[in-house]
Symmetry: C2
Subunit: 384 residues, 2 copies
């Protein structure tokens, strides 16, 4: 019998059974009457999730493809942009913008630090402005979720366009594209949207569309104008990943039926539960110890206990997949994703397994504490 699997990484995330049932339907043609209503509904649902009246462009790609589309459609060689970077995905913005020949300035934080609106405003003033500011909403490498609303306001006040990587945040924590005046919001199917990986999305404000007219960089597959023109006619510029769109449509339906507010609340409570479990084991948190860290929880193993070995033990002995750390933190950091279709039960189960494996590895932890603490922090257990 196949061993049971538990996926608690910050992406890809587990998807609901309804989504798996949808993706296994026979292939339908993307220009036929079976697909068009599904396509139209998924585009409408995306607008609801992005909280925008603008079109949400859909690409068959990883989230990075849509990030690249923002650079290629907005920038021109030698044009100044600012990248706010406090982790791996902030650095990715810089790599992409550099690859395309933009003049890239950075507001660089230590990994794990939380970017502030004041710093962004000061840096933009120091630079004498920039065309666009690239921001990471939820920095998946550290667990930090920035105060996007205030950062975007600072960017806007300085006359720049805000371009936001919301790949791991959209659907997990509040994001109000139109109300917060965000110019470009990028996301992907495989995180809180609860669909398989392979679709990337970009929502574009009217001000950003004006800038698109002026960009001189090449782009074809990721060309926003071509994509918008096709989507306006419920068509797609190139053969879309129909199975993934059918799956995304079902996943978005589930998300919206339950309600975005409920999803946000669930993520906050799962974050509380995870942090409570980690602290009950006596471990040090790497991600912030507050409700902003609703997407994933980073923690450090006790000194002398190897995080890579811990992850292997979880994987091989429990069928549990969690994520590790980058760079110098690889031997200490582990990251637990609680994104999308995750229940407190499996999160608590994973915490128990971590506790057990740490004890086996010789850490000074007393098994039995993490799960009750997690349940209590989650808040579902009725207080008698």
């Amino acid at each position: 019998m196949s061993e049971k699997r538990y996926l608690l990484t910050p992406g890809p995330t587990p998807v609901p059974p309804e989504v798996l049932a949808a993706i296994s339907q026979p292939i339908i043609h993307h220009r036929g009457p079976d697909f068009k209503p599904i396509y139209e509904r998924s585009l409408t649902r995306l607008r609801e999730v992005f909280r925008t009246d603008q079109d949400v462009l859909v690409f068959g790609a990883a989230g990075t493809g849509a990030m690249e589309s923002a650079v290629a459609n907005l920038c021109s060689p030698g044009e100044r942009v600012l990248v706010v970077s406090a982790g791996h995905f902030g650095e990715r913005w810089r790599s992409i913008a550099s690859a395309y020949g933009a003049e890239v300035e950075a507001l660089e934080y230590e990994w794990g630090e939380i970017p502030s609106a004041e710093d962004v405003a000061a840096r933009l003033q120091e630079l004498g402005g920039a065309k666009a500011v690239f921001i990471t909403h939820s920095e998946t490498s550290t667990g930090v979720v920035c105060d996007l609303q205030s950062l975007a306001a600072a960017v806007s006040e300085q006359g720049a366009l805000s371009v936001v990587d919301a790949v791991s945040s959209l659907g997990a924590v509040p994001l109000e594209m139109d109300e917060w005046g965000l110019d470009v919001v990028i996301s992907g199917s495989q995180k809180a949207l609860m669909a398989p990986p392979g679709l990337a999305t970009a929502a574009v404000s009217p001000a950003a569309w004006e800038q698109v007219e002026r960009s001189t960089l090449p782009s074809f597959y990721f060309d926003w104008q071509r994509t918008r023109k096709a989507q306006e006619q419920l068509d797609s510029a190139f053969t879309p990943a129909v199975s993934l769109i059918v799956a995304l449509d079902v996943a978005l339906g589930l998300l919206l039926e339950d309600g975005l507010e409920n999803a946000f609340e669930r993520h906050v409570r799962l974050g509380r539960a995870c942090r409570a479990g980690i602290k009950a084991m006596g471990l040090e948190l790497y991600s912030p110890d507050d409700d902003s860290a609703a997407v994933l929880t980073g923690a450090l193993t006790p000194e002398g206990i190897d995080a890579v070995a811990l992850r292997l033990a979880l994987r091989d002995r429990h069928g549990i997949t969690i994520a590790g750390g980058h760079g110098e933190l690889v031997s200490r950091l582990f990251r637990i994703g609680h994104i999308g279709h995750v229940g407190i039960e499996e999160l608590a189960g994973a915490l128990v397994a971590i506790e057990e494996e740490l004890a086996v590895a010789g850490a000074d932890v007393e098994p039995g504490r993490a799960a009750p603490a997690a349940y209590e922090a989650f808040g579902t257990v009725a207080t008698a």
Copy 2:
């Protein structure tokens, strides 16, 4: 009850039930031990299908994304390339190369004409050479499959790199990447490989890799070097579409288990059957009337009978999807795909439906002739 559907377009194509079962499995992590053996096997199987010892790079994208990757990784602004164009997808090569600022020369044929090695050699001599020649193996808009081996030999003799769009040909008709000296071969998951759309592939020769070092165009998501480096470690540069790769692996397994030669023979016989059925109705073929046209069959409706109305009737009254024509041929041309997981039974059924609908529309056809002719040409009916 949902109406039965028959997909006879030149892509996406129907996929085997084993592939649908595979794609509906729970999401697994792309860096975990459940995925790695599947990934490794699918990469090995791709090499077998491409008939190459080189790595086959896999992108989450439509085939056009991989076509763009060839331009972005091989070319530099102002560098001369030649596009051989005899239909819609030849024109796409030109559009992409132009978007990236290459100096694009064209060897342009009327749609439906068959490119020749002599023309390619003469044009390259006239130009004094080119860095690369972009070729369409199976021109899906017309049904023409060129003699790729001779074209590539002519390109090679003139010192240029051959870059081949094999999106609708790979797995349907013979293609020998290494033996024929092809430099770059592009394909996609959704045609004869019998998998859902969303994955694109690029196989690259050593000579083409040398050229990659010299290219100065920007690319990030489609960067070949980054992709190769990741794949060499059984990793991927960005979150891959795991569900699609799991599905592709199963589809490639089915294809190779049956044998490529059997697949090629089946496509030839399906092409014969389709042409025989079309001719039995008294219709004019648009695609070539020989065994080279093994991928799809194009035909013209009788004068005065609208091809768009025919396709709508097939779709609405029979659940059958076929493809139409581009441009000025839209009112006369229809295209029947017989690619991948297609049986003679459903092809014959579609021919019967076409016959019936043409008669209803007032065409001078006598229902009952197409299917027997198709079966006979296919050659499975035992001759007593």
